[in-house]
């Protein structure tokens, strides 16, 4: 019995980290789908979100719902600004130039945080206070429940938005064919801005959940989850929204189970090994579509 309890708890651990990866991976995959670029500064938006929450909640002492709303707005605006300033002028440049710019933006954001908040980690108590629950012998912490619920809601809203609204159709159209979409009267620039805003807002949500779980702020806190989420996006098939969700959760569960039952030392090696195997068998990722290049 305790063995099963243990397995269930490990699966829940995996689901929780996987949910955060999935939320971040959605940003990577949406931006890739629309702008055909890998936004390596995306991980640092999480960091900005975490610090923004700290400023609003701990320094300004605003009520929690206001803090969360403001944090999401700050990140969405930051996402649009970064796109306008750094990526838009390079829209027709080689993809390598855009990639390097994205890395530059990532370092820029980290160093600005370093200058303002210094390198010493800041302890910051969780703003989400939900008591933990116990079902049978299984103990689930409050923040885990919140993380899972928020992720499910965020994904449901996103799926509805993309499939059922006019703006969502516009996004799908731009990702299919930018030129044709423009001819059909879709404002491509506006659609791209909106994609960055939504991706960054999701990163803000991930940042809030992340900081409420780990309670310590540092300028590089977004780097590692950012990379893991990028792996998740590739695993699920970059450009595919259900793929990012699946990739994130699969990655979280593999990581948790290999740490628990194989070896804590080898966990990262196993995670990246799985990625290599998946890409060898299915180069476009789990749910990615293989597009035939038309000549």
């Amino acid at each position: 019995m305790s063995l099963i309890n243990n397995l269930v708890e490990q699966l829940i651990n995996g689901l929780r980290t996987g949910s955060i990866y999935a939320l971040i991976a959605l940003g990577y995959t949406m931006v890739y789908g629309i702008a055909k670029m890998i936004n390596f500064a995306h991980g640092d938006i999480i960091m900005v979100g975490a610090y923004a929450l700290y400023v609003f909640a701990a320094l300004l002492g605003l009520p929690v719902p206001v803090c969360i709303l403001l944090t999401i707005i700050v990140c969405a605006v930051l996402g649009i600004t970064v796109e306008r300033i750094a990526y838009k002028p390079l829209r027709n440049a080689p993809s390598l130039a855009v990639l390097i710019t994205a890395i530059g933006v990532s370092y820029f954001l980290q160093n600005v945080a370093l200058i303002i908040f210094k390198a010493t980690p800041i302890p910051f108590g969780s703003v989400i206070k939900v008591p933990s629950i116990k079902i049978g012998g299984i103990h689930i912490s409050g923040i885990t429940i919140v993380t899972l619920i928020v992720t499910v809601i965020a994904m449901a809203i996103l799926t509805w938005f993309i499939n059922k609204t006019r703006a969502g159709s516009a996004m799908r159209a731009v990702s299919e064919d930018k030129g044709a979409a423009a001819l059909m009267g879709i404002n491509v620039n506006k659609t791209i801005s909106m994609t960055f805003a939504i991706g960054s807002a999701l990163a803000a949500v991930a940042g809030i959940l992340f900081i409420c779980q780990y309670e310590s702020l540092s300028p590089t806190l977004g780097a590692l989850p950012g990379i893991k989420a990028f792996v998740a996006a590739v695993l699920g098939g970059i450009g595919s929204i259900p793929g990012a969700m699946l990739g994130g959760i699969v990655l979280g569960i593999i990581e948790s189970l290999s740490k628990a039952y194989i070896s804590t030392q080898l966990a990262d090696a196993i995670v990246f090994g799985v990625l290599v195997v998946v890409l060898l068998v299915k180069p476009s990722g789990l749910l990615g579509k293989m597009k035939a290049e038309k000549v």
Binding site: A119, T120, P123, S132, S141, Y214, S256, A260, T264
Partner: protein, 400 residues
Amino acid sequence: MKKMTKVMSMALAASLVVASLTACGGGEKKAETKAAETKAAGETTAASADGDVFLIGGIGPVTGSAASYGNSVKQGAEIAIKEINAAGGVTVGDKTYTLDMVFADDEATEDKAIQAYNSVMDQGAQAILGCVTSGACIAITDLTAADGILQITPSGSAMDCTKNDNAFRICFTDPAQGVTMADLAAETLGYKKVAVIYNQSDEYSTGIREAFEKEFAAKGGEIVASEAFSNGDVDFNTQLTTIKGTDAEAIFIPAYYQDATYITKQAQDMGMELPFLGSDGWDGVLGTVTDPATIEGAIFLSPFFAADPSENVAAFVADYNEAYGATPDQFAADAYDVVYTIKAAMEQAGSVESADLIAAMTEITVDGLTGDGITWTAEGEPNKGSKFIQIVDGAYTLYE
């Protein structure tokens, strides 16, 4: 008109040259005044009229994730230097030296430590106080050995920190810590089954873990889980869940306070109530936890306890508090002892030559804050007693 232009351009060029020259001259003068200023500042801290200054090169992390250690070391050393200078400096033969220190930041990383070492050497350091963390310390040991300079680390506890003849330490070695904690767990606390969470990418952590597990097994105990993590990890739920599935009576975490903060918080979130044991890297943990209840009852090794009633400790704590508005931790005390050790070595050697200072290290006895009558072996290891600290009601208390 053409001639005129030529003359004009010549004049312009000449004025440019002059301007650039004056700029250079100005720069030099500025540098000189700055040097004079620092010298003057050095002298104002010195009580003796004698101009001889012995420069200590301090290296430690004053920024980054281990910044708490580096700042404590720097401040502890400054207190000792101020005290010694106020008492008339250090008498070496027929000369009296005042002490001064330059301190460079290594951010607790290997590459920055080498830069920091080169920087303090360029400024003329005559003995090295550092590094503070083991990894950074090991990175510079061969350099200090090549330069033949006396190196005393306040807190670099990995075996390799003192592998060269010129290197000594104030703190315990990692294996010594592991053995001491295992004896505490097995004998004093009577645990039979203990789980360990350690940082596999850190020598300090792996060194303590190996010695702990060996000694604990030798005392008849059982290590029911030995879980690893890596630098920068923030999620320990998986490791904790595994431990939860065992019948461990306590969790031993040989790691730094930031890791301990994450682990203890997540253990509480999971509803675990096992007691924690820690290594001396736990010192400072109360400053990073958001809720002291998560570490209530935890016991860790520390050579120094700020609420110790003994006279020298009380005086140091009062001075430190006055100067920096904080209670000193073991790192501050270690650094304070390093400075007094350098002083003792200078007096014993009757010289400030590095080779003489190194030779004197095995002949001296220092009554420090971290132990009475500390002596050193030729391998660089100190002989001294140990203290345990327990978190009770959200405060550090001496565990006896």
